[in-house]
């Protein structure tokens, strides 16, 4: 039998002060990179046109740009997309309709002799209205996702757990967004989907720990233990499951990231980061916050009782 941990008893909760500093630091780094670099929205959200072209011979960006400047689109964003022969051209919203734009680009690139033969493989156009709506829908999806989770946990466990879980998830979202901004990736619809998946994953983890805590309550082994110790036991008891699940999910995400092709890359990247931070935040954000919150409430109750006894 292979075992990662045999009756682990690490002092996770006891070290939470340090963890708070780490969490705060990475959240700030995440926010900082968001503030400095900003989110690079995909045309899904900004509106615009995306044209994917595959050339027979690897072209240079300069040649493509020269071709595009024939129709005054030299300022477009030109990016290599996976294969060296594959390129993506992003054109901001113009007055020209996508229909004409696709044709114009095809004609302009055709006139640029050094480019050789090519094939237009994908044209995506998102109008300004749709882009704005999608932005709003994205915000709504994340918000409602968080509210749904908060309500579910508050119902199954308690409000403290719900709030702490949502804070943990929020932390994960910031870290993932920060990572996207930091690596200069685009915030696209698939990235949004990955973000929501991570929300689900992170909460999943948190619930497993909460469930264990609740189950242990009233058990003989837990008698005389403080709430912090009880939480620490729950985290330790679910530790091997946490690590194993994180490993398998991490494995899935890694394979998608490295072999899923360029289209899935950003999606997989968010999952990749999210699994790490989601696993971390369960213990060091959600569980830790519940412990401190409970201790704070208990402390106040005790003081009030003392005050009543004195009087």
């Amino acid at each position: 039998m292979i075992e990662l941990f045999r009756n682990p008893n690490y002092n996770f909760i006891g070290n939470r002060k340090w963890a708070y500093i780490v969490s705060l630091a990475i959240t700030l780094i995440g926010l900082g990179s968001l503030a400095v670099r900003g989110l690079n929205y995909d045309i899904d959200f900004t509106g615009g046109t995306l044209i994917q072209v595959r050339f027979e011979q690897p072209p240079t960006v300069a040649n493509i740009r020269a071709g595009l400047s024939r129709i005054k689109l030299g300022e477009s964003i030109i990016q290599q997309f996976g294969d060296p022969r594959e390129f993506i051209i992003r054109v901001p919203l113009t007055s020209v309709t996508s229909q004409e734009l696709g044709k114009q680009v095809e004609a302009a690139l055709g006139q640029e002799a050094p480019l050789g033969k090519f094939e237009i493989r994908r044209v995506e156009f998102v109008g300004p209205q749709v882009g704005k709506e999608l932005q709003w829908q994205a915000v709504q999806a994340v918000l409602f996702g968080l509210i749904g989770i908060l309500l579910y946990i508050a119902w199954r466990f308690d409000l403290k757990g719900g709030v702490a879980a949502v804070i943990a998830v929020f932390h994960d979202v910031i870290v993932c967004l920060g990572a996207i901004a930091f690596t200069g990736r685009e915030f696209s619809l698939p990235v949004l989907a990955a973000l929501l998946t991570i929300i689900g994953y992170s909460v999943n983890d948190t619930i497993v720990a909460y469930d264990r805590l609740r189950e242990n309550r009233g058990k003989f082994s837990q008698k005389g233990k403080s709430f912090a110790e009880q939480m620490n036991d729950a985290v330790n008891q679910t530790l091997s499951r946490t690590i194993l699940t994180a490993l398998t999910t991490f494995l899935s995400a890694a394979i998608l990231l490295f072999f899923g092709g360029k289209t899935l890359e950003d999606f997989a990247f968010v999952l990749f980061i999210g699994v790490i931070t989601g696993t971390y935040s369960t213990t060091y954000v959600a569980a830790a916050l519940v412990v401190d919150w409970t201790q704070y409430v208990e402390g106040r109750l005790r003081r009030r009782k003392k005050a009543v006894a004195k009087a």
Binding site: R122, A141, Y152, I207, D211, T248
Partner: protein
């Protein structure tokens, strides 16, 4: 063996059988998204306000005629804004007669009135406005479906989206530009007389009578691709529209070799109007106008009976064919604009499938091997459950007619990762129970029982997020949400119920089980 084990085995066999039935034959059972097989995804916005305005305009015209028939002199009857008609009488003496005529327009109600000045407004009722907006989109969907059917695209979906949008998905279309031109064309065919009192030069200088308008004939030189615009002054009044058309056929243009024309035939009513118009206007020019572009303005030499005409315009055979299609299918009630468009070439789709499949097989294989190495026989049980999960998931997608998109494939890969979570949770629990010295049988019992709560909680929360994703997402994200949701539902069945069943069959049935491979 415990009771009901045969019943449970039967249930699993039934689910498996139904799943396989839905999945056979695999090429036909699962819809591939446009990102995988190539095609066009279009969202059109219908200019519903324009439709309301044009209906108001038409009512104003009718009202004016009605008033004149009653002998009520009018100074002005005109549309104002979207749904208001302003009426100014020549004198206030006919006030009551005018109101009687106006009362016949039941979809309007009188707004402001000033009986001394002989001026009142008619406002379209809100219910009628809403009805018209709805009609515009509904008819638009019908017309576009008609056009696409005639164009010949298999498995096209044309659906209404929201209040004023139409979603069109055309899988496997080879020539997207042509398809888009066909769909987006309003195709309003009008016959109007040329205004022969005003020259185009006068009109361009701004001396245009109120009843006339300036239109252009566009000709593209086939060699130089240069566009030439020839101006014409045309009377505003429409004599006949494409609504009265029964047939439209492509013909070779006898006067211009290599070019094609469209021959049209009117309905009985259309033919009568056409006959009258040509009879009354012999010697004048009749302009044939499509979507505001003048195609030709032949001279009327004599009365044309039988209701036949041709539209010439130096068309290629494809252009002529598409024009015939849009004329047959009818005009769109209101102009449409492209709000969103995604065109994927077939070669890119094939690449996506290949890479997606490599990724999903790779990640599934990695998880399979991991479980086998770590949990041995129990791992093998989990793997069997995982395989069943994949079969059910794909079968559900086939049964619901859901579309498999690239993000959908990613969703499946992710489901695999998360489905084993349930098994890991249960197996770790069983190990724990064994560690405290329980027998194999009671460890299995306790492991499954204790894990149940957590399993349900974790599945429900992720399903909540998947449902929210489905509600707010569009296109590809929806596909992801569907496969995630279905995958999790299937995982409850396979990773918990089915794994339990296999454990019961292997371990619990026997009298003495000394060890368990976990």
């Amino acid at each position: 063996m415990p009771r009901r084990i045969w019943f449970r085995l039967g249930l699993v066999a039934l689910v498996l059988a139904v799943s396989l039935w839905y999945l056979y034959p695999p090429q036909k059972s699962i819809n591939l998204g446009l990102d995988l097989q190539g095609g066009i995804h279009l969202v059109l916005g219908v200019d519903v306000d324009k439709y309301v305005a044009s209906q108001t305009e038409r009512a104003a015209e009718d009202l004016k005629n009605g008033l004149e028939r009653k002998g009520v002199g009018v100074k002005r009857v005109a549309r104002d804004g979207l749904s208001t008609i302003v009426v100014e009488l020549a004198s206030a003496t006919n006030w009551n007669d005018a109101l009687t005529v106006a009362a016949e327009f039941g979809t309007f109600e009188v707004g402001q009135r000033d009986d001394k000045a002989g001026r009142f407004t008619l406002v379209m009722r809100q219910r009628q406005v809403a009805q018209l907006r709805d009609d515009a989109v509904r008819q638009g969907v019908e017309t576009i479906r008609n056009r696409i059917d005639q164009f010949g695209v298999a498995e096209a979906t044309i659906t209404r989206q929201g209040d004023d949008r139409i979603l069109i998905q055309l899988p496997g279309v080879q020539d997207p530009e042509r398809a888009k031109a066909l769909i987006g064309k309003t195709a309003l065919l009008e016959f109007k007389l040329l205004d022969e009192q005003t020259t185009p030069e006068q009109a361009q200088a701004g001396r245009l009578p109120e009843t006339s308008e300036l239109l252009y004939q566009r000709r593209v030189d086939k060699e130089t691709k240069a566009e030439r615009k020839q101006p014409y002054v045309v009377q505003k009044r429409t004599l006949l529209t494409g609504a009265e058309l029964t047939r439209a056929e492509v013909q070779a243009d006898p006067n211009s070799p290599g070019n094609w024309q469209v021959a049209i035939e009117f309905t009985a009513t259309g033919a009568r109007i056409f006959g009258d118009v040509t009879e009354q206007n012999v010697g004048r020019h009749l302009a044939i106008i499509l979507d505001g572009n003048l195609y030709s303005a032949p001279r009327i030499n004599e009365r044309i009976p039988g209701g036949r005409a041709v539209i010439t315009g130096q068309f290629t055979v494809d252009e002529a064919r598409d024009l015939a299609i849009v004329l047959r299918a009818g005009a769109l009630p209101a102009p449409v604009s492209i709000l969103e468009e995604r065109t994927v070439g077939p070669s890119l789709g094939a690449d996506s499938i290949r890479q997606g499949m490599i990724a999903i097989i790779g990640s599934a294989a990695a998880v399979f091997v991991f479980m086998l190495l770590y949990y041995r026989i129990s791992g093998a049980i989990a793997d069997v459950a995982l395989a069943l999960n994949l079969i059910i998931l794909l079968a559900c997608m086939a049964a619901f007619g859901a579309t498999l998109t690239l993000p959908g494939i990613a969703g499946i890969a992710l489901t695999i990762g998360m489905a084993v979570d349930t098994n890991i949770l249960i197996f770790e629990r069983i190990r724990e129970e064994l560690r405290v010295g329980k027998t194999v049988r009671s460890a299995i019992e306790a492991g499954f029982a204790r894990a149940l709560r957590t399993v349900i909680d974790t599945h429900l929360t992720v399903m909540v997020t998947a449902a929210i994703l489905y509600n707010f997402g569009t296109g590809p994200v929806k596909g992801f949400a569907v496969s995630l949701f279905v995958g999790l539902a299937a995982s409850l069945f396979t990773a918990y119920f089915f794994t339990r069943l296999l454990f019961d069959v292997i371990y619990v049935g026997r009298r003495k089980v000394q060890s368990i491979s976990i």
